[in-house]
Symmetry: C2
Subunit: 237 residues, 2 copies
């Protein structure tokens, strides 16, 4: 954790002081090993960040005094359109996409997404919200990506994707495509990443008909998490 | 697992048939859910790969018949020079670097690497060998990266790194550098990635004196694993 996130409801009447008594105090004491007088970076969820000084530390309480004036790092102009991953993997992928600065994440159904995945507590709003908070705390960001779910492939791709792609480049990672991905693009981008085993041909056709271009990731088959990070590096780093 | 790796010692007198009775049979039966007559991709460690047909499956045994004729995917001309990560994280980072095709991985000591890390069973040769096998099985590769350890920073950087950098570009990911990383390079590259908290200034100076160029990863602080994948995407995808 490189930034301690404060929730708006943490702040009382004094916007520059806070006393924490939850799991964050454990982290401050036992992971950061911070002491009285030390400074650490804090940020207000969806707001500015700054340095905090520890003004009291005892038992399970930590008091901080801070000024929040630094704006969060810019988001990437990127929507990750992600076939719902195996639930065990979803948390880590969402966390990495958040860490890297994706502005929007859309979880999409696909033929190869098992129906039970959508019901898993590992992909609940609450679990994925926590994963995004972890990504923000890692990266030093404060602004949550917008996370949404498209549980029906065809209506989403036919009715919503074309307008989403207006003034954006749409890229579809596809193992059997011929083209390499573009690099260091400046424009807004929707990046579609399939499930394990890939989108089925019908789905690829529909995505391309909606305006996406397919490209190859090369001869190696990458884990979804690796593919997301590698592609963001290629497109935006 | 996208490729079943066979060890040279698995092969008996017939180089085109094998009967497995170890953990790999569980994977074939329970994860791949393969049946008699199905094909799956197999590869010989450090050798060619090809398709195998299941010729018998019963109890805890699976018999395969195969032809191995496809060469492994090319490695990236990349040496990852990695400050020894927190042991819990090391396995995953090494697996991802293998999956992406790094040819060489050197684990380096640094001021911010806790001495105890080197003793952890989570970074033993055996554990990291298994992590590399997992990376190969994911990517469809058969060739292990060369993994080595530089447990003394100064002798390595002064005496070995300059000759390692001959005819290679040396890149040092450094949070406070000004330059962006180059993109889509064609040449051989040594990519140095620091520990949590980064290399200390003295170490950066020594790395630069040995011929490395520093560059910034931007305002976000990335997990080592994310940084490795993102940078490889930027440099090589």
């Amino acid at each position: 954790m490189n930034l301690l996130l404060l929730q708006p409801e943490d702040l009382g009447t004094n916007p520059n002081r806070i006393t924490l008594s939850d799991a964050r105090t454990d982290h401050i004491r036992n992971v950061l090993r911070a002491n009285l007088g030390d400074t650490l970076k804090v940020g207000l969820l969806n707001g500015p960040s700054g340095n905090a000084t520890i003004t009291a530390i005892s038992g399970s309480k930590v008091s901080l005094e801070f000024e929040l004036h630094t704006p969060p790092p810019a988001k990437l102009p990127l929507t990750v359109l992600l076939a719902l991953p195996r639930p065990k993997m979803a948390r880590r992928i969402i966390r990495a996409a958040t860490e890297l600065g994706a502005a929007d994440i859309i979880l999409l159904n696909s033929y190869r997404v098992e129906k039970s995945y959508w019901q898993s507590p590992l992909v609940s709003d609450d679990t994925l919200h926590k994963a995004m908070l972890e990504g923000l705390e890692q990266a030093g960001d404060t602004v949550l990506p917008r996370l949404s779910r498209a549980k029906r492939f065809k209506p989403f791709v036919e009715d919503e994707l074309p307008s989403l792609l207006e003034n954006k480049i749409g890229l579809l990672a596809h193992p059997y495509a011929e083209q390499s991905p573009p690099q260091a693009i400046k424009q807004d981008c929707v990046l579609a990443i399939g499930p394990e085993g890939g989108f089925i041909p019908y789905e690829c056709e529909k995505l391309i008909a909606a305006g996406m271009q397919s490209f190859s990731l090369g001869p190696r088959i990458l884990k979804t998490e690796t593919a997301v990070s590698t592609l963001i590096g290629r497109l935006f780093l």
